[in-house]
């Protein structure tokens, strides 16, 4: 069992050949620190201090952007959406609430209005990937890896951002935490990045008197093992101590925020406590899954309405608690692998589509607007789907460059030129 371990994407032949792609894909290289070929990016101290902490939210399943942000001003919306259309603003029960004379929010998304009106929440619409895949798994992979249609790159975009930037806190024991049972691809290969399903319950149990000697022995039991496990063990040790010092259970949100008891709200609340503790965690990832609404979509009452309420209530609380009430700059971005088809199917659901939307919330976001180059529902992609006019990497890239202070966009989003869309402040 002491032989060389297999790490996905490492592809040991590539690794030996020291190819650039092999290195990018090599988890072990990533864990060991920035590979030598990466440019050395110099950060001014004040730059580091002004960088935002990022909370990245993945909405898995393909969220129906045409319901979450309704293009009621598009003359084709009502006829094409048919039975699944949200009524025009003012049109009685379940009507959309107007945002800007063209787009509106359905009732279940209304909790977002507070942050939107405060100018802290931006919506980016008709946004997506150039990869036409309607496979959940390929599309999620494209988005989380940050390079569409590349099945060999194994590191995530957020991981590469961390690899090409200096830590915000030089003695951070953990730079990124995913509040999920497993590590998402966006953080795969990232330095000091761990999944912790429940940060408020992180200690070793058992005989208190032996706890420190057991911890010591555990660290020795992993001292001689191969990567990535050796680093993970060391990070886990440090993370246990770090998390045990934070009073998650006694955490009191600021600004009158009230988090729900659902897992998504709980994760956001843990993220808020973690960020305010200023322990050096500069990236947090969270998931809210179940958006694959092929049947009985339930946009006013039902599965999708519940998901939208969970999402918008969670973000509302986080806005009050952190964006409004904390001086620590934070940027939140939420995305889904694709949107859904313009026309509903016979089961009052929608099949896999193409472009979707992204939500960006934060202290320094050009919020209170819907950023879009609206393609028009009468100009669909592949005859039936919303066309993508803004690449998701433009939004993420702008965040990385301007809010996370990392100019190495060529490494974070290889072979792509990020176009500035003005979603965040510079």
């Amino acid at each position: 069992m002491s032989g060389q371990r297999e790490h996905e994407g490492c592809g040991c032949l590539e690794y030996r050949g020291l190819s650039r792609r092999g290195f990018l894909g090599a988890m072990s290289a990533a864990i060991a620190g920035a590979p030598a070929w990466l440019p050395r990016v110099a950060f001014a101290a004040d730059d580091r201090a002004s960088r935002d902490v990022i909370v990245s939210i993945m909405l898995r399943g393909g969220a129906d952007a045409l319901t979450m942000c309704v293009p009621w001003g598009d003359p084709w919306y009502l006829p094409l959406r048919g039975a699944l259309a949200v009524p025009m603003p003012g049109a009685g029960l379940n009507a959309a609430t107007d945002l800007d004379g063209y787009f509106g929010l359905p009732p279940a998304m209304l909790p977002l209005l507070e942050a939107y009106s405060a100018g802290k929440l931006a919506i980016v619409h008709a946004c997506g990937s150039p990869d036409p895949s309607r496979s959940h798994f390929d599309a999620q992979r494209s988005m989380e890896v940050g390079k569409p249609s590349d099945m060999t790159l194994a590191t995530g975009w957020l991981a590469r951002h961390l690899l090409t930037s200096s830590p915000m806190k030089s003695d951070a024991v953990l730079r990124a935490m995913s509040i999920t049972p497993g590590l998402p691809r966006s953080l795969s290969g990232g330095p000091l990045a761990l999944p912790v399903a429940d940060p408020s319950n992180a200690g070793l149990t058992g005989r208190p008197a032996s706890k420190s000697s057991r911890m010591q022995l555990l660290s020795e039991l992993y001292a001689d093992t191969d990567e990535p496990l050796r680093s993970i063990a060391a990070q886990t040790q440090a993370t246990i101590s770090m998390l045990e010092a934070i009073n998650f259970k006694g955490y009191v949100p600021a600004g009158g925020a009230s988090y729900g008891v659902d897992p998504f709200a709980t994760a956001l609340k843990s993220a808020a406590a973690l960020i305010k503790a200023q322990v050096g965690v500069e990236a947090v990832t969270i998931e809210l899954n179940g958006w694959d609404t092929h049947v009985s979509q339930g946009i006013f009452a039902g599965d999708m309405a519940t998901l939208m309420q969970t999402l918008s209530n969670g973000l509302k609380a986080f806005h009050r608690d952190v964006i409004q009430s904390s001086i620590i700059n934070v940027v939140v971005v939420a995305m889904s692998e694709f949107g859904r088809r313009i026309a509903p199917n016979a089961g009052l659901g929608t099949d896999h589509g193409h472009a979707g939307m992204m939500l960006v919330m934060g202290h320094k976001v050009n919020g209170g607007r819907v950023h879009t180059i609206w393609p028009g529902l009468d100009h669909p992609f592949d005859d039936r789907d919303l066309a993508a006019t803004i690449d998701f990497r433009d939004v993420l890239g702008e965040i990385v460059r301007h809010r996370l202070g990392n100019a190495a966009l060529g490494e974070v989003f290889p072979d792509y030129s990020v176009v500035d869309r003005g979603v965040v402040m510079h």
């Binding site: 069992m1 497993g182 022995l217």
Partner: protein, 423 residues
């Protein structure tokens, strides 16, 4: 295995039908009577505990079943044809799916398994084929049957997805109030699109009825991409997380030569020539928890506690939300060492209600630190404990005057160690 030798052990496990597991199955059937019920009987009895019970049955079979290889194959197909169990209707049909689709065909031919899955009431519900009708096709099953179950992404176009959806229109279920037929598959000709279709370049003539779907399954099951896609699944499950081309070629060759005989593929995957170059595979939480329970001969009235622990690890049986099944990637699971260390500690400190490890019995006769370490080596590592691990555990035992409590701590540390996390 030591008694039989490797080859004989493999053949014994492959011929799972001749391994008597009736005592365990009788015990399970007494505790979980729905195990042998039809969906109609579950509807009539309105049995609400199927969902959590099903996860417990899976854990219990993995720990105590004698058909160890068979259970591993079943686990593979449960991932491959993943169906999330949530809600009563899904739980009932999912229980039938595992018994009559997955377990019944696990070692048979791939085409039979695929065909049974396509007619599984649970699959019809899960991938929305019940809503796939001529007037408005629903593409969910059509896409996943190609992408996940057979060819993988590549050979087909979006037009193929639409055509396959048309072929499967009318493949639906009897409703829950349909008496004995409740929640079983039916083909409804009135909902079927009977026009001509073209799938992967092959013409399926008009008027084929239910034969359209069967023709699609024939095309898919015999497609070369399916041999490779399924081989990748077998290789990742049984050999290595990142199988190379030559390994896939070898298994795909067996698939093609045997008409998709699963038993033959598993035999090849576990052959010395395939395993020799295999790198260690990181245990998923399920394998970790089940392996610990087996190694330490943990006793428990039922698997409820382990089910809760696995839920915390994001690996409760039958609960992966999306149709791709639980990941096999090391990078996905390796980060959560914390859960493993906490699991070991709570097991060894008797913090899992009802789950007991009899440390004095496991250690009976071990009179000194070296003998205790020998015993841990044999119990946890099957005699392959690395020297460094042994030295560290011996130091710990020496420093702490080995009482039962300290021996339990040492066992907990052994299963928390780096070496134990790999197959």
């Amino acid at each position: 295995m030591a008694a039989l030798g490797r080859e004989a052990y493999l053949e014994w496990q492959l011929a799972f039908e001749s391994i008597d597991d009736s005592a365990l199955e009788a015990e399970l059937a007494a505790r979980y009577p729905w195990l042998n019920m039809s969906a109609a009987e579950m509807v009539a009895g309105w049995i609400e505990e199927v969902d959590i019970g099903h996860a417990e049955v899976t854990i219990t079979r993995a720990i105590r079943g004698r058909r160890q290889l068979y259970e591993r194959v079943v686990e593979m197909w449960n991932d491959h044809f993943n169906i999330t169990s949530s809600g009563l209707t899904m739980a009932w049909t999912r229980a039938v799916d595992e018994r009559d689709v997955i377990r019944a065909n696990a070692m048979g031919t791939f085409r039979a398994l695929l065909g049974a899955s396509a007619r599984s009431a649970a699959m019809v519900l899960y991938l929305d084929n019940a809503k796939n009708i001529a007037a408005a096709p629903n593409e969910n099953y059509a896409r996943e049957v190609m992408e996940l179950h057979t060819t993988g992404v590549g050979p087909y176009t979006e037009q193929d997805v639409r055509e396959v959806a048309r072929c499967f229109t009318g493949w639906t279920n009897h409703l829950a109030n349909a008496g004995e037929a409740a929640l079983t598959f039916k083909f409804d000709p009135a909902l079927h699109d009977d026009g001509e279709k073209v799938v992967l370049g092959r013409v399926i003539p008009a008027g084929g009825g239910i034969g359209d779907g069967e023709a699609v399954l024939d095309i898919l099951a015999s497609h070369p991409a399916t041999a490779r896609h399924v081989s990748g699944r077998v290789a990742r499950h049984f050999i290595t997380p990142a199988p190379g081309e030559s390994l896939i070629d070898r298994l795909a060759g067996v698939f093609t030569a045997t008409g998709g005989n699963i038993r033959a593929m598993v035999r090849e995957a576990l052959s010395t020539r395939c395993q020799t170059h295999a790198r260690p595979k990181f245990k998923r939480p399920f394998h970790f928890a089940v392996g610990v329970a087996r190694a330490l001969e943990a006793t428990m009235p039922h698997a409820g506690q382990l089910r809760l622990k696995l839920a915390q690890a994001g690996h409760m049986p039958l609960k992966w939300e999306t149709p791709d099944g639980y990941p096999d990637r090391t990078s996905y699971w390796a980060g959560a060492l914390l859960w493993r260390w906490r699991f070991a500690a709570s097991l060894m400190y008797n913090e899992m209600t009802g789950v007991e490890v009899d440390v004095p019995r496991l250690m009976f006769g071990a009179r000194n630190v070296e003998q205790i370490a020998d015993r841990i080596d044999s119990i946890v590592f099957g005699g392959t404990m690395p020297m460094l691990t042994r030295v560290l555990l011996e130091d710990y035992l020496r420093a702490n005057n080995p009482s039962n409590g300290v021996m339990a701590e040492a066992l907990g540390l052994a299963i928390s160690s780096a070496e134990y996390q790999w197959f």
